[in-house]
Amino acid sequence: MISRCLKRWAVPLAWLVLLLALATGGEWLEPLLRWSEPEARRVLYPQADLLTLLLRHLQVVAIASSLAVVIGVGAAILVTRPAGRDFLPLVAQVASMGQTFPPVAVLALAVPVLGFGTWPIIVALLLYGLLPIVRNTLAGLEGLDPGVEEAARGMGMGAAQRLWQVELPLAAPVILAGIRTSVTVNIATAALGATVGASNLGAPIIAGIVNGNTAYILQGALLIGLLALTVDSFFARLLSGRQ
């Protein structure tokens, strides 16, 4: 049982191990990094900071994505109910606009209102991550077999029973796929937060750019890439496990 479970989750776990190894003890990377930046005084970003930055990064993405899931899935459910159907085009359009708006611009606009720090990037990620969630939730709920809905009604299920027992479980794979896209994209985009003073994995990249240290940039980029891969492969497992 345990070995089967381990086997199933082998790929995501492998990524996780690699990610943690890089975040906690990257000394073995020094020769490689030295090669990319032979002149610099230091090539290893202060390691103690990396783990903290990783956790902060995760925290920001988690907050922004949770909000996006609650708002996105909630809005999509509301506009697919008979009472909210009039708002369906509006919600679909607002969600699309959220994504056409560049996160950098959102940051620039949010800083004067929210100040420097973590909040501007959370707002930017929330807006940016909403579209895939809304779009997939709408597709999942609208794409249900009409015969199933007819039967659910015909058997005497109420609206809430149909939603929780039939519609959401059947739409779940499509909704999860949307959340997966949203979260993965947000992990990469969150690095922008470092430009407005949020401390996350964007920090080594910014520090690298400012100091002309390619090794710092590489470490930040590698960590973000690994984090995205880890989370994405967890989602992949979750999705394939359902079918």
């Binding site: 077999d145 009409p146 007819e150 039967a151 009604r153 015909g154 005497g156 109420g158 479980p169 059947l170």
Partner: protein, 318 residues
Amino acid sequence: MIELKSVTKRFGSETAVDAISLTVNRGELCALVGTSGCGKSTTLRMINRLIEHDGGEIHIDGRPIREFDGRVLRRRIGYAIQSTGLFPHWSVARNIGLVPRLLKWPAARVNERVEELMALLGLPIEQFADKYPAQLSGGQAQRVGVARALAADPDILLMDEPFGALDPITREGLQVELHDLQARLQKTIVFVTHDMDEALALADRLVVMKAGRIVQQGSPLELLRAPADDFVASLLGGDDRGLKEAAITPVVERMRPLSPRLLPQARVAREATLHQALAVMFRERVERLAVVDDDDMPVGEISLRGIVGVARAEGRDR
């Protein structure tokens, strides 16, 4: 008992169902037939309030259906549809137990009822209970659909082309089963179909609809023998009507006792229809057949004249 009194339904400016009146007695199977878009499905769906009627009244056992909450009403009425509408993420057993669970039956009673229904519809429990709808054949899925409709033991069953998507052999098998089931359970059934043979074989009462109105209603034999107009006649098969009548008349109805004459070689089963007897005569080039029971023992005979219905005249000649 279901009563419709000048029931009307409009969709926008179009009148889908136009002041129809219809009574379906307890234990009766009423088939609604007609061309596509004649309002038969709409009529069916108004009975369990999946569609609300605009005018007239629908009563179930003497009470107007508007008195009931829609959900409560629908849990009391079985409903089976062509696409089965089984929940793909639920096992067969869970699908069948849906309405009893909605009615908050205790789990043990739900399980007991599910097992009872699976046995009734020929779905071995160990083989099917844990399967998912995607793993079933069309015929099996439809059985599960019917079992689900019967789960809370409703008095009324609404069936919207339940066998329409099945291959002819499976369809005929399920028709026979429904017929037997109905003989035992005596439900009040409203059955929508556009398969005329199906309607003739199953219905106690046949209701022909056209453009939202009832053109004619009566027993299958009444309609076959005296169609109200050309539309009904052509819907019932035009000149084939005679053969369709033969197809729903059992051989025993025209069978005579064995005569002293030599017994014919060609034979037909006692349960067969006149249609089948005619087919045997045509194939064997004979005008008389021996009627045999399950053990192939002759129990009577039937002649072409007997089938055509001049039996009495023939009898008097002797």
